[in-house]
Symmetry: D2
Subunit: 341 residues, 4 copies
């Protein structure tokens, strides 16, 4: 159901024109006259009304505004599926009692250092490997990733440790190669509204880790999930990773309230990336603990053996020792909120 608020001076002809349009689309209408405004209740499955139609109705003569009652996303909503979605990857369940920590370097830089870091994070308690082979970089002069070579090293690290791989897909032309190696396909923040890419990953049977865009609302994040789900892939993991605000003390503002809000609106698992969220390693640990306390189902954390020499994101990477200490603290916090790591 939608509500159409009418202007005070609407004519009978204008009103008829609006009602006719709605009826021609298969809706019933119910008119309520108030003392200051009259409104039309639009009866039927108004979730079929696209934003365009809504906008078009809004500019019809006599209309003041259209008020949407139903949410614009459906498959991703808690209304549609009340039970938490649990996504299984390589025997690990994301979205249940156990909180998963996905750790590794920002970008895969070389075989030796990757294998070393992965061994260390596994030892500390991480359950998934993260690492980028294709990297989105704001400068054309920055390191752009190793490509397939990087994916091969990730596969070798998986073989040695049994930990599944999370890696980013940036370009639809890389799909085949990413599908060959990844256990979870990451859609980065800058591609959250790359709708063609969303449609494409929606057509595979492979879990998708969908990062919130820098300026995306929670509703838009759920609409992006809807894009993937509408194509048949319901294995979507939502990821809060910081939004852009006026504050410059941190790289982004990590919106931890998105975790409980998403949990109310949706049945999908929600994880948090404190590394990108704050962009400064000394702030990552407190925010990781806060994310667990806020109810996150997982964490995405950048770890690098030698952050000073990292080819990307060194300033926000933890050293293996710091990560190990953090994992111990995270276990305590998880227990305090009746979860486990």
């Amino acid at each position: 159901m939608d509500i159409i608020v009418l202007k005070p001076g609407i004519t009978a002809k204008e009103l008829r024109h609006i009602v006719k349009r709605l009826e021609s689309r298969g809706f019933k209408t119910s008119i309520s006259k108030g003392t200051e405004r009259t409104v039309i209740g639009v009866i039927g499955d108004t979730s079929k009304i696209t934003e365009e139609e809504e906008n078009a109705i809004e500019i019809m003569p006599g209309v003041e505004k259209v008020v949407r009652i139903l949410k614009p996303f459906k498959l991703a909503s808690r209304d549609f599926k009340s039970k938490d979605t649990i996504i299984e990857v390589g025997g690990r369940k994301i979205g249940g009692k156990k909180i998963h920590v996905i750790a590794g370097p920002c970008a895969v830089e070389n075989r030796t250092s990757l294998l070393r870091i992965v061994a260390e994070v596994k030892n500390a308690g991480a359950t998934f490997i993260r690492g980028g082979a294709f990297k989105p970089r704001t400068s054309p002069y920055s390191f752009q990733g190793l490509g397939e070579e990087g994916l091969k090293y990730l596969a070798e690290a998986r073989e040695r440790t049994g930990m599944p791989i999370v890696t980013e897909l940036m370009d639809p032309r890389d799909t085949d190669i990413i599908l060959k190696y990844a256990d979870i396909i990451q859609i980065g923040a800058r591609n959250m509204q790359n709708f063609r890419l969303l449609q494409q990953v929606g057509s595979y049977d492979k879990p998708v880790l969908l990062k919130r865009g820098l300026s995306a609302t929670i509703k838009e994040l759920l609409m992006a999930a809807e894009y993937i789900m509408a194509r048949g892939n319901s294995k979507v993991i939502l990821c809060e990773r910081g939004i852009r605000t006026f504050e410059t003390a941190t790289r982004n503002t990590l919106d931890l309230s998105a975790v409980p809000v998403l949990k109310e609106l949706s049945h999908l698992p929600v994880i948090v990336d404190p590394s990108h969220g704050v962009g400064k390693w000394s702030i990552v640990a407190p925010m990781a603990k806060a994310a667990v306390a806020a109810g996150a189902d997982g964490l995405l954390i950048e770890v690098h053996a030698n952050p000073e020499e990292a080819l990307s994101d060194g300033e926000q990477s933890l050293k293996p020792d710091t990560f190990k200490t953090l994992m111990k603290e995270l276990k305590a916090v998880a227990k305090a909120v009746r979860r486990e790591i």
Copy 2:
């Protein structure tokens, strides 16, 4: 020390003019020629240079920009005082191992309900009473507070429970009356840059709880603390309470990363107000837990016996029962991060 970056084509005369100005202010200069730019190092205590002088230098012919090396706040900074400040109020220490929970209604509405709520929050473990007698309201048609009558009820609640009072000062003309009743004077978010009010509370020996403005950067919050401290009052408690962003799912975006960032930059205690931060009661509890995990020294939480009937902020108030449950969970989280409540 400050750095003045010069334009590529600066003339010798322009350079002399700039150097002369700096020397007339008592600074020494050191010129470094790079391959693409020349810079002047300004040597001396450049924290004396006000923003105005800096701006004035920036528009001198031949200057590209001025880069500030020292922070614009001093007394509030960790550089100035490396040890954590602990503020004692009525035998309670804010800023130490113990995390304090300041609880109560948004506004004092009547004697009976106030006394009842205060008894309940004390019972659950709160250590301070919060309650507004003068209320800042966005609508002129809203309830504006009980004034001194409200303060009297707060004093009675204090007498009965031994809990000190935190209440807001909105208008310099109310200072005497607030000083008479409050144990901690709250400066609200909308007054964080009411500089005359800051100067005034700076001249009393009474702790001040300073809330971050809706669009204030962390640096500006510390500058506001500096205003108070520069007048002699060093008992300032900083409070994160949400900033304004594009997200509308929550009333504000609670910036929990401000907690560890403030802890790095300043020695002052930092508390968090999740009630105003998110504006929706069901989200308050997870964010309160997250605040404790992030390292907050205290919490400010709105509790109302009957939120549906509250004259203000009912939508973000917890019921006494929910608050009691939350306190138990908070204790567990505090213990997990080696603090206590």
Copy 3:
């Protein structure tokens, strides 16, 4: 009229409880059942419902959300008064065909320089003097204004030129002195939600120039105007002066679209302050022209004889010559949009 959207599983008892509450407040109700949701139409003058009541209803069991149909401001709205308000000050009409330029230094610094600048801006075509005697400064170590001495110089400048004075009131305790000298009282951006100050200027018969807060929405600016008007003073001039966004290339982001939006929603005159809006003198001129093209009724422009020596805001002040050139260009743009300067 307001609309209350109900949750899918609401019980008959919950529904009765809501209807009863509304009826006890004097409203009639009209229930419309849709296929997916049921809504209650609240009939009567719902502008009497405060935000608090609305919030309280929103948390009643069975309620999904409350949709406001009427605007929360009334006296300031175009619905209430369809004709443009014209405010007369010293024989000058603000809000009519003529666009007024209010020019002068940020702060009054000394008698000689003030008189010189005022003579120059008058000569170039300005019709009002601006100048601060009490200055809000982010640093406690910055120049805070000359106080009454500054107001006396402004009065002398008015006597010499016949131009009325616009000056800022920061503290309710300065009201008498400001009333004695000012022709238009300015409420600064940082005080836009200093509700006690708004109420106070609302009780005088003196025009108020109300600046939009750094993080205030257009609706909140109109609510602040409503505060003043609700006390009886309808001579409010709205002023767009830049909002805080993530962009750092300019001091603030000047939201020129606020001009036509405010003109649609309200009958009050709207002026623009490009100096504070962008904070960099070379950008002030193009934005001043853009403001006129967008429909502004006036401009507030900082002019300083020697910006390099200004005690405040030198970086955004125009020199008298640049101002003179700008005034000529503004005349051409005003003519192009059928206004005059």
Copy 4:
């Protein structure tokens, strides 16, 4: 040149380590000791230092922060090329005295309506056709564009009117087909940081209209232009189209100050899209005039014969008659700022 600010307590060993690292990268260093801080001046072409290296240096022991003196973009900067770039397309020069108006529907919907609108906008004075064949839509259930069929209709419209075509490329896999029909390739706001797409259009000899992302800073817009230019294509037209802020009265906040700021920083032409910038047709006209007054080199305006029936963005489209009136007013404003339309 870059400046490295050192921490007060840095050891001699830490300092040597930093200097050695810089020297190993081919830079010279110059150390200046101030009274409160010591800084290292890094001498050489520090624009070669990537953001990663900068970040890596920032976390070396003893470093407080790294201050960048040179801008991170080069080819796009006014430092690199001081003269305005003029881009010629089909005999029309963008970036010169003449302001170009690119007009047409948001999406191409069918042949008849496209040909009709194009004829009308040409008649009113537009010089380029805009129209989308592939549409980025926030809802998976919305109209996604006609694809190549739409491009064919655009080509027919070009043949009839002689007006070149501006159309969007969303997916690298559509490149061949877009290259076949477009005269200017549009990169939409959501793809401003789709770096692979930028690299791809950088390798063709075809002008690119690059829209600013919703949360992109001006610096990031120029970095995106740099991506294209670094691949050899210097024909980049920058486009301001509104940024995301907390204000909800307009769809986005049109940042017109970006026009003069971009003109200072870069030699590239700058156009403005008021339709997407404000999202409401009644606000489009004043903002189009303001954009011209602010110095824009062109406008992108949505026009639809029957906005109520538009399949996308009807609420922000002008009707042909309104567009015609606007064009007359724009001519007057252009003349007032010594340009022409």
